[in-house]
């Protein structure tokens, strides 16, 4: 693969590119999904190919080919140059400098998830499903996934790096219904469960079959729970819901390509401007957000991003003040600050974009119980169910699968159909406590969408329980 990538870069330079990089990728994904006690989907897909990105006269060009051979590599390079040449208008591109690096990275793992027999995965799913089947539960689903991505990046500046990244994960869902009420309960999160970089040991640690009875019982109980009443109150977000809040209202708005408008036609822009760096108050003193592409087990962990920029841990929000953006070499140069390091592509057939890597709400101190103890009346919100946010990432509404009343510092009865709403910096200004490191959890999401043509990024977020005062809840039509 390395020789092919080098050939593509040479071909691009020979055709007139001032810069070129080539990514040769071999990707394999496996899914095991069981539903209602039967195998619903058993799939094993692979996709090999090469993407070549070039700069010609200051204009980008990109071409991908689903063949890994010498002629396809050279052809992709020439097509990328042709497309860049055809781009109308005047173009200028400056990139931050990056020291050419060579190196390899492989996910540390104990057991290769592809070495685990399919029958073992199916049996685990079926056991977990059986555990959920109770009460008014009508549909049960269990899923396990595994992925291996072998990737070589070569650039005309001398970068030549290789990654072999393993992911695996899983999740379970119980759907209960009666008359006009339908409810879902999931573990460890909705939206395709949770994943991590690592081996089969991660799936075993999830304990899908261990958690299944609780998930089924709560799905059934939600049918009889009262709906969350509207009002303004104190809320505590579970770590799983807190990471969704970070993802949507901090991760996306701090992507520098959004700030500069290049995602306007699809994913949207940002309420932030480049001038806000270092001065904008994003939230309270308790708000500390870090982008960390070195996090052990993170889906956004690598040695080098898809532009060859080394991984790093960097502050995005410090004590409530905006300190950094997620950036590429191009957008960092435009800003005049930062170095890039967040460029990632979804497979060989897509151009790298500014994406989240691992973005965390840093822990505070104390336990979940200590956060609860300081709430006379409020709600504890668990497990994301729905999310919606405007195209500047400012006005949002989230729904959670379950809410628990908090009375005099203790969890009370279960409520269903809980929602909360807010305006991003106002909401984060109400953060008054984050639980300590012992409550901090890492969640990997595999469905972050962006770009045209569409790309899905795999990202991780860590958070502990987070408490917000005076939040509007229970809004419905």
């Amino acid at each position: 693969m390395k020789a092919l990538a080098e050939a593509a870069v040479d071909a691009a330079l020979g055709a007139g590119a001032s810069y070129a990089d080539a990514r040769a990728v071999a990707l394999r994904r496996q899914y095991v999904i069981t539903k209602n006690g039967n195998v619903d989907d058993l799939s094993d897909t692979e996709s090999d190919g090469m993407g070549v990105r070039v700069l010609v006269g200051g204009a980008w060009g990109f071409a991908g080919s689903g063949r890994l051979d010498d002629s396809a590599a050279r052809d992709a390079a020439l097509r990328a140059v042709e497309f860049a040449r055809a781009a109308p208008g005047r173009h200028t591109k400056n990139l931050t400098s990056v020291e050419p690096r060579t190196g390899t990275y492989r996910t540390p793992l104990e057991r290769d998830p592809f070495s685990v027999p399919l029958t073992e995965k199916i049996d685990l799913c079926l056991r977990a499903e059986a555990g959920m089947r109770q009460g008014d539960v009508k549909v049960t689903v269990a899923m396990i996934r595994a992925q291996r991505e072998h990737k070589v990046l070569v650039s005309s500046e001398g970068t030549n790096v290789e990654h072999e990244i393993y992911e695996c994960g899983g999740g379970i869902d119980a759907y209960a219904s009666s008359d006009d009420v339908s409810q879902v309960r999931s573990y460890p999160s909705q939206h395709s469960g949770a994943s991590a970089q690592g081996g089969w040991e991660y799936v075993e640690e999830l304990g899908l079959d261990r958690e299944a009875p609780r998930v089924g019982e709560q799905a059934s109980a939600l049918l009889r729970a009262p709906a969350c009443p509207p009002g303004r109150t104190t809320i505590i977000l579970s770590p799983e819901q807190a990471v969704m809040q970070v993802h949507e209202s901090v991760g996306h708005p701090t992507e520098l390509d959004r700030v500069y408008g290049t995602e306007a036609a699809y994913a949207g822009t940002s309420f932030l401007s480049a001038d806000d760096l270092g001065s904008l108050r994003y939230g309270s003193e308790q708000m500390n957000i870090t982008a960390d592409s070195t996090t052990a087990g993170g889906l956004g962990t690598f040695a080098f991003d898809d532009e060859g920029v080394p991984a790093a841990r960097e502050a995005i929000v410090e004590a409530g003040v905006l300190r950094g953006f997620l950036s590429s070499r191009e957008t960092a140069a435009q800003l005049g600050a930062g170095r890039g390091g967040s460029m990632r592509a979804d497979g060989w057939a897509r151009m790298p974009l500014v994406r989240m890597t691992n973005l965390h709400l840093e822990p505070g101190e104390g336990s979940f119980e200590e956060l609860l103890a300081d709430v006379d009346g409020g709600l504890y919100l668990e497990t994301n169910k729905s999310w919606s946010i405007d195209d500047k990432r400012l006005n949002f509404q989230f729904g959670t699968q379950v809410a628990w009343e908090i009375e005099n510092g203790k969890l009370g009865r279960m409520l269903r159909d809980a929602t909360y709403t807010g305006v991003t910096p106002v909401f984060w200004s109400k953060l008054d406590a984050v639980a300590g490191p012992e409550e901090w959890r890492l969640y990997g999401l595999t469905n972050c969408g962006k770009g045209q043509p569409g790309q899905e990024a795999h990202v991780s977020h860590g958070a502990a329980h987070a408490r917000f005062r005076d939040v509007e809840v229970g809004v419905s039509a």
Partner: protein, 367 residues
């Protein structure tokens, strides 16, 4: 026989004597993506994917690859067989689709298929030019897609299609407007039209006031209506949501919960859309009325959900692509009947005071 059907046939032979179904999906496309009136992310893609489904004693597994040489096809057949062997017998598996005759629906245009990178860039430039002083954001994309399905039942289906999308957001710091066009003939999609529309809408939004939360009478543009219908369809208009009692249609078929002005069908055979003669199992597509004059008529089905219904239900030709299998069959070619109003202005007059919604952003189902 076309190149993709040849490939499907070869993959089927490689699968040996198994009950098997092969889907080949080949794509050659170019996207000229622009922002602030500059083409900044041009993407050209060439790929072909072969998916093999194998059934052994009622146990089903599948595998897919884009390595389409003999070695790749042998490997994908081996992995599909391994998946099938590892599975449990599926009581709902209805077998693979039998051979069928397909409607002639069109959907391929030689001129569109011939568009290359320089053409896509030129047509994107035409859109940018038409937006005038506004910055234009969006895409001009064209492509050729070939799909073939072959199975051990003797089924052989193939279609070659072209497609064009021109999507335009005209915007500056105080204004924005949206418009888009889709088609399968380049001659039908003048990129200047959506660009001009987007710019005209943007001009009207300048100086717009903030809208207080509340209940308003509203006129929605077609793209906004389509988004609402599409999101409603995910749980309510497919057989899986219906069988799992998540659909709003459950227990309401034959009832009239909607205004009589509402009629929605799924019609992939209509060449005014992006026509498809068969679904991803090779089953012929049918026009399915889902709501007629406000009355709920039914949902769309594939072979698996039809078998699961246990009431003689037949597939309507809505087996989803692999990426959507988890959601079951879904309508993907909506046809909402038009009404009597001659224009958006006429609708606005009927509304009186209210709001005009051009599009919706980031819809989600709350509960």
């Amino acid at each position: 026989m076309s190149r993709v059907l040849d490939l499907a046939d070869e993959a089927l032979r490689t699968a040996g004597g198994d009950d098997a179904e092969v889907l080949v999906h080949a794509e050659r496309s170019g996207v000229a993506r622009f922002a602030a009136s500059i083409v900044h992310q041009p993407t050209l893609i060439e790929n072909a994917v072969v998916r093999v489904r194998i059934a052994r004693d009622g146990k089903v597994g599948w595998a897919a690859t884009n390595r389409v040489d003999a070695e790749g096809l042998a490997e994908v057949a081996r992995r599909a067989a391994e998946a099938a062997d590892s599975a449990k017998p599926d009581p709902d598996f209805p077998g693979f689709s039998p051979p069928a005759a397909y409607a002639e629906v069109g959907g391929y245009d030689e001129e569109t298929a011939a568009l290359g990178a320089a053409d896509q860039a030129r047509l994107a430039a035409a859109a940018i030019e038409a937006a005038g002083n506004f910055g234009l954001y969006g895409i001009y994309t064209s492509g050729v897609t070939e799909i073939a399905v072959a199975s051990s039942t003797g089924l052989a289906a193939e279609q070659e299609t072209t497609d064009i999308v021109c999507l335009c957001l005209a915007a500056d710091n105080e204004a924005s407007g949206w418009s888009e066009r889709t088609g399968w003939r380049a001659a039908d999609v003048d990129p200047a039209e959506p660009a001009r529309e987007a710019a005209e809408t943007a001009a009207r939004t300048r100086g717009g006031a903030e809208l207080e939360p509340g209940a308003y009478r509203a006129v929605l543009e077609p793209v906004a209506v389509a988004d609402l219908v599409r999101w409603f369809s995910y749980d309510s208009m497919g057989a899986q949501g219906y069988l799992e009692e998540r659909s709003y249609f459950c227990g309401r078929i034959g009832e009239q919960p909607f205004d009589p002005k509402v009629s929605i069908a799924d019609d992939a055979l209509d060449s005014a859309n992006l026509p498809r003669p068969f679904d991803f199992e090779g089953t012929p597509k049918q026009r399915v009325p889902m709501i007629e004059d406000g009355v709920i008529r039914g949902v769309v089905w594939d072979r698996t959900t039809a078998a699961r219904a246990l009431d003689g239900q037949s597939t309507t030709g809505h087996a989803p692509p692999d990426a959507w299998r988890f959601f079951g069959p879904l309508p993907m070619a909506f046809d909402m009947a038009s009404g009597e109003a001659g224009s958006a202005e006429e609708l606005a007059e009927l509304v009186g005071d209210g709001i005009f919604v051009t599009r919706l952003h980031y819809l989600s189902v709350v509960d």
